[in-house]
């Protein structure tokens, strides 16, 4: 079992390499960058000017290497699912594919000064969270647990990068199964 990071029209190399290290720590699995060309054009809703994250998940599955792995798409565009105004990311619950975007994690979107350190932290947390879903873990009521559901960016800062005791037990159990 390994984890692939798939950059989707994403160019910030520094963010990718710190993310790689964070995921390796969080899951205890080998993590690699997967270089495939991936155009977002087919997932764009021209009226909303946002990108359908469910569509991205299905595209990720099409190009997934045929092996036991999880793939995390990393993008910088505004993501949505049809019934919601936006999402930070999406994942298949107990599946192979997940996607996150830095778009709504940036302080400057909320009229605050740029904060690259905070952006890095938030991206790492959201990536671990979405990958957590691919391991079958649902939202957790423990506010410091990485699987705590967050719907606005500052809330992400309150939770830690770690799985709580229950969630990490679930993670280990599900890592064994796959």
């Amino acid at each position: 079992m390994r984890i692939y990071i798939l950059p989707i029209e994403f160019t910030d190399k520094n963010l990718l390499s710190s993310l790689l290290a964070a995921l390796r720590d969080a899951f205890g699995l080998p993590v690699m960058i997967l270089n495939r060309s991936f155009s977002l054009e087919g997932g764009r809703d021209p009226i909303r000017n946002q990108y359908n994250s469910t569509w991205i998940l299905s595209r990720i599955l099409e190009i997934a290497p045929d092996e036991d792995c999880k793939i995390l798409g990393v993008a910088a565009v505004d993501l949505y699912v049809p019934v919601l105004t936006y999402v930070f990311g999406e994942a298949q619950l107990t599946g192979k594919a997940a996607v996150v975007s830095t778009y709504r994690l940036r302080d400057e979107l909320y009229g605050l000064p740029k904060n690259p350190e905070k952006l890095k932290e938030r991206l790492e947390k959201e990536a671990i969270h979405e990958l957590g879903h691919t391991f079958g873990i649902i939202h957790c009521r423990e506010p410091e647990c990485i699987m705590y559901s967050t719907t606005y960016a500052e809330e992400i800062d309150f939770k830690s990068k770690n799985f709580c005791r229950v969630c990490s037990a679930l993670l280990e159990e599900n890592k064994k199964k796959s």
Binding site: R48, T54, Y80, V81, P82, V83, L84, T85, Y86, V87, L93, T94, L112, H133, G136, I137, I138, H139, C140, R141, P143, E144, S149, T151, Y152, E154, E155, D157, F158, V166, L170, N174
Partner: protein, 450 residues
């Protein structure tokens, strides 16, 4: 696999003809730990319906065959306890408003803000829990009366219970005066539960925790876009109390503008939401409580005299515990009997030194503090008789840290406002009169956590 973490899982049914809406909503709810399923039309929905099976039903207003409004009626007939939330497009908000009149809880417009959706569902769940807690409340009120029977000799308390009986069946505005911990909210609830409004809600507003700016939207709600941060339409407490009782705790703390607003709504029984122009009529009974001397506030000019007379139609004063010390032994023995049973410890009584100490203490937190003290003593007691060493050393007044530096006070204050606001950063910052960035810095500095 779908691991369950909450034994009392809430169930949600999504009825919408659009596959993408059904899929994304059920997925969102499943990830949030709810049990969720969907139906594409009325026929499928009715097949999946059974009394008590669904806690919350999301219902598209426009459905093929039978429309959402008609289906709403059918659902109500099958399961009157299910909370119905309409799903609508911007174009059909009028119909959605109509559905609210037919008993829908609320509506969401597609696409819905995820933060809004999760808070709305959390609120419904909280209300449902409250409903079952009503049974618990009945027991608490029962306890209040039991205490009365035991401590019946005390004329001041006897009078309080008499007054409750007298005023409850009327629609008169009631003012409850008493220190913190004397059970003001319990008395408000007792009045409500003995009135003809008991089948409607009693809504509590703690005015002590509200700033001037926040009070208006807390009382009357606001329209989307009414001010920065008003991302959605929100119902105010007066609207929620329609048909029932509104309980304004610490009413003496509201500012001048709120006093004027309050006077107007008492006189006209109608108001407009902040940022709106539609007049909303409400039918409510008002109960207030205060631990401030409002007559003095009127003399000092900080509280409107006309409002004071409107609120002080019928007043009930609860004496502080230190003014009825003779009740303390009876209360102690009452709590001992009640609590020792539930903790399953056989403790027979108090040593005479312990009782002396209990009687001598000034109990700033009143009956609530006494109850907590007895409970703690039962837990720590090693003998069958509670001794002086089992009693909690008289603690410093609630919430005030030993460290009286400005920083320590700031930390306590910020934490308490955060908790009152449910850790909503925007509202907390508003209450504290600082911007969100500053609030974040302070939260980090003091290491505050949910």
């Amino acid at each position: 696999m779908n691991p369950k973490k909450d034994s009392r899982q809430v169930s949600i049914l999504v009825v919408d003809d659009e596959l993408s809406v059904r899929d994304s909503m059920t997925k969102w709810f499943v990830e949030d730990g709810y049990q969720a399923d969907s139906a594409a039309d009325a026929t499928e929905a009715l097949k999946k319906l059974k009394p008590g099976l669904w806690d919350i039903i999301f219902l598209d207003i426009k459905l093929p065959g039978m429309d959402g409004m008609e289906l709403q009626q059918r659902i109500k007939a099958i399961d009157p306890n299910a909370t119905i939330i309409m799903i609508t497009a911007y174009a059909s908000v009028d119909t959605a408003v109509k559905s609210l009149k037919e008993g829908a809880y609320d509506y969401v417009t597609k696409p819905v803000d995820p933060d809004y959706l999760s808070h709305m569902v959390a609120n419904v769940v909280k209300q449902k829990r409250l409903l079952s807690e009503n049974i618990q409340l009945r027991e608490q009120i029962q306890e209040l009366y039991e205490i009365d029977q035991i401590v019946g000799k005390n004329p001041a308390m006897l009078k309080v219970f008499d007054l409750i009986e007298t005023v409850a069946p009327t629609d008169t505005t009631v003012m409850i005066k008493g220190e913190s911990g004397t059970g003001k909210e319990l008395i408000a609830r007792a009045i409500h539960s003995k009135s003809s409004r008991r089948f409607f809600p009693i809504i509590t507003v703690n005015c002590g925790g509200l700033t001037e700016g926040l009070t208006e939207s807390e009382f009357f709600g606001h329209e989307k876009g009414a001010f920065t941060g008003a991302l959605y339409r929100r119902k105010g407490k007066f609207e929620m109390a329609d048909g029932g009782t509104i309980f304004l705790d610490e009413v003496g703390n509201i500012g001048a503008k709120a006093q004027t607003d309050l006077l107007r709504v008492i006189e006209t029984k109608q108001f407009t939401r902040v940022g709106g122009d539609e007049f909303i009529k409400v039918d409510f009974r008002l109960i207030c409580a205060t631990n401030r001397d409002l007559e003095l506030a009127v003399k000092e000019g900080t509280f409107r005299e006309d409002l004071y007379y409107r609120l002080n139609v019928f007043s009930i004063s609860i004496p502080p515990l230190r003014e009825r010390r003779s009740d303390i032994p009876l209360l102690c023995n009452y709590f001992l009997k009640k609590l020792a049973d539930s903790i399953n410890k056989s403790i027979t009584g108090f040593s005479s030194e312990a009782m002396e100490k209990l009687e001598a203490y000034h109990w700033p937190g009143n009956v609530r503090e006494l109850r907590n003290a007895v409970e703690r003593a039962i837990v720590v007691a090693k003998e069958s008789c509670i001794g002086v060493s089992d009693l909690p050393i008289p603690p410093c007044p609630e919430g005030i840290p030993d460290d009286q530096s400005l920083e320590a006070m700031e930390k306590v204050h910020i934490k308490s406002i955060l908790e009152q606001m449910g850790w909503n950063i925007t509202r907390t910052a508003e209450v504290l009169g600082i911007d969100r960035a500053t609030l974040y810095k302070k939260i980090e500095k003091y290491g505050l956590r949910k």
